[in-house]
C-alpha cells in the first residue's frame, strides 16, 4: 500500500514538474491521452497558426506570380499591338506617298507659279507713286507763293528729298514750318540752304508716314 502511495506521490510530483515547465497554453498538447510514444509530435495551436501563415504566404506568392504574368502579358501585348499598328500605318503611308508622288508634276508647276506670285507681291508691296509725292509737295510749295521745287530724289516709299528755291529766308522758314506740321510727314530735315542775292536755295529731306503714297497696283489695272 505504501509503495502504491509513494508511486502516486512521485507521479503527482512529476506531473507538477511537467506543468511547471510548460510555458503557456499554446504549447499544451491537443490530444495527449494515449500512453504510446508519439514519434511525430502533434501540432500545437501556435504551430497551426504558423502553418496557416505559410499557406497564406504561398497564396500570396501565387497571386504575385499571377499579377506579374498579367503585367507581362499586358506589356507584351501593348508593345506588339503598337508595333503592328505602326507597321500597318507605315504601309498605308507608303501607298499614299506613292499616289501623291505621281502628282509631283502638279506640285512643281504650282510651286513655279507661286514663286512668281510671291515675287510679284514682294515687288508691288514696295511700289510708290512718284507722281503723287511730287504733286503733294509741289502743292504745299505753291500755296506759299514763290517757292519753286526743281529737283526730286525719290528714295523709297517713305523717303524723298527735294531741292528748290524761294525769294527769302522768311518763305523758307514758312515752308519748313508747313512741312513739319503736315499730317503725312513724320520727319523734316533741312539738309542745306544757301542765300545768293535775292534767291534762297534749299534742300529738304522728308520722311513720310507709311502707306500714304504707296501704289495699289490692283486699282490701277487698266
Amino acid at each position: 500500500m505504501n509503495k502504491v502511495i509513494e508511486e502516486n506521490k512521485k507521479g503527482k510530483e512529476v506531473k507538477s514538474v511537467v506543468k511547471e515547465e510548460t510555458p503557456n497554453l499554446d504549447e499544451v498538447f491537443l490530444a495527449d491521452n494515449d500512453e504510446s510514444i508519439n514519434l511525430v509530435p502533434i501540432l500545437s495551436k501556435s504551430e497551426i497558426v504558423q502553418e496557416k501563415k505559410k499557406v497564406k504566404l504561398n497564396i500570396g506568392s501565387i497571386l504575385s506570380i499571377i499579377i506579374f504574368l498579367t503585367i507581362t502579358i499586358i506589356i507584351v501585348l501593348f508593345s506588339t499591338i503598337s508595333k503592328i499598328q505602326v507597321q500597318k500605318a507605315q504601309g498605308e503611308l507608303s501607298k499614299q506617298e506613292v499616289e501623291v508622288k505621281q502628282l509631283s508634276s502638279v506640285i512643281l508647276s504650282n510651286e513655279e507659279i507661286l514663286r512668281r506670285i510671291y515675287l510679284y507681291q514682294d515687288i508691288s508691296s514696295n511700289q510708290y507713286s512718284a507722281r503723287k509725292i511730287f504733286e503733294y509737295f509741289t502743292q504745299i510749295a505753291s500755296n506759299l507763293g514763290d517757292i519753286e521745287l526743281d529737283q526730286f530724289d525719290f528714295q523709297s516709299v517713305k523717303s524723298v528729298s527735294f531741292e528748290g528755291k524761294c525769294p527769302s529766308l522768311d518763305d523758307l522758314a514758312k515752308f519748313w514750318y508747313l512741312l513739319s506740321e503736315d499730317e503725312l510727314v513724320s520727319r523734316v530735315s533741312l539738309e542745306q540752304f544757301n542765300k545768293l542775292d535775292s534767291v534762297v536755295k534749299f534742300e529738304f529731306k522728308i520722311t513720310m508716314k507709311e502707306g500714304n503714297f504707296s501704289t495699289n497696283l490692283d486699282e490701277k489695272k487698266e
Binding site: E7, G11, V14, F29, I37, N38, P41, S44, S46, E47, Q50, S61, F68, I71, T72, I75, F78, S79, S82, K83, Q85, V86, A89, Q90, L93, Q96, V100, L103, S104, V106, I107, L108, S109, N110, I113, L114, R115, R116, I117, Y118, L119, Y120, Q121, D122, I123, S125, N126, A130, R131, F134, Q151, F152, D153, F154, T215, L217, D218, K220, K221, E222
Partner: protein, 241 residues
C-alpha cells in the same frame, strides 16, 4: 515506471521545441524569395521598361504617321482641286511674264516704247544682270533670292509726260519691273527723269525635289495676282503695233 513516463514527456517536449524551432522563419528561408524578387526586379528594369519605352515610341510614331497621312489626304484633295489643264495654261502665261531668263532687249523694249509714246527722249539706257534679295515681312520667311536685269535709264520731256511715264511703266511693261532711285530734275522748261529700273526673272532650279510634306498652297488662292499676270501675258502675246 515513473522514469520511462518522464523520459517520454521529456522527449515529447524536445520534439515540440524542435518543431517550433523548425517552424521559425530563418534567413535561409528568405534567400529564395529575395533571389526571385531580384530576378523580377531585373526583368522589370531590363525587359519591361525598355519594352514599355519602345511601345510608347511606337505610339508616338503612330501619331506622326497618322498626322502625315492626314496631311497627304489634304494635299491630294488640294491637288485634285486644281485642274491640270488650267494649271499648265496658267504656268505658260505666268512664265511669259516672269520668265526663266530675261533678255535685256525684251525688258527695255516696252519701257522705251512707253517713253516714245510719251514724247520723251532717251538720254541714257543700259542694263546688266543682278541678284536681288527681297525680305517679305508679312510672310516671315527668309529673303527670296531673285534674278533681275538692272540698268540706269534717263529720259527728258515735259513735266506732265514725265509724270505720266512714271505712273504708267508699272503697267505698260508686260514684265515685272521695279524702279529705284528715281530722280526728277528740272532743266530749263523740260524735266529729266533718271531711274534705275529692274526687270525680274526666276532662274530655273536644278535638281528639283518634290517635298510632299511641305505645306501646300494652291496658286488658285491668289486669283487677283493671277489676273494681273494674265493681263500682262496677254499684252506680251499681242502683236506689236
Amino acid at each position: 515506471m515513473a522514469l520511462p513516463n518522464m523520459q517520454k514527456t521529456v522527449r515529447k517536449q524536445e520534439g515540440i521545441s524542435e518543431k517550433i524551432k523548425n517552424t521559425r522563419l530563418k534567413i535561409k528561408d528568405l534567400i529564395i524569395p529575395i533571389i526571385v524578387s531580384m530576378i523580377l526586379l531585373f526583368i522589370s528594369i531590363f525587359v519591361f521598361i525598355p519594352m514599355l519605352k519602345e511601345a510608347f515610341n511606337y505610339r508616338t510614331e503612330l501619331k506622326e504617321i497618322k498626322s502625315k497621312q492626314e496631311q497627304l489626304i489634304k494635299l491630294k484633295q488640294s491637288i485634285e482641286s486644281i485642274s491640270e489643264d488650267q494649271l499648265n495654261d496658267d504656268l505658260i502665261e505666268v512664265k511669259s511674264v516672269i520668265p526663266r531668263t530675261l533678255k535685256v532687249a525684251s525688258f527695255l523694249y516696252y519701257i522705251d516704247e512707253l517713253a516714245r509714246l510719251k514724247n520723251l527722249t532717251s538720254d541714257k539706257i543700259s542694263a546688266s544682270d543682278v541678284n536681288i534679295g527681297i525680305v517679305d515681312k508679312n510672310r516671315q520667311q527668309d529673303s527670296n533670292q531673285y534674278k533681275g536685269v538692272n540698268g540706269p535709264l534717263a529720259y527728258k520731256g515735259s513735266l506732265e509726260n514725265i509724270l505720266n511715264f512714271l505712273d504708267n511703266f508699272y503697267y505698260s511693261s508686260p514684265y515685272i519691273v521695279s524702279p529705284q532711285n528715281i530722280s526728277l530734275t528740272k532743266s530749263a522748261e523740260l524735266w529729266e527723269v533718271e531711274l534705275s529700273l529692274t526687270g525680274y526673272y526666276v532662274s530655273e532650279e536644278e535638281n528639283l525635289v518634290v517635298n510632299i510634306y511641305k505645306p501646300f498652297k494652291p496658286y488658285t488662292d491668289f486669283a487677283d495676282v493671277m489676273e494681273i499676270l494674265k493681263e500682262k501675258s496677254k499684252k506680251l502675246n499681242a502683236p506689236v503695233k
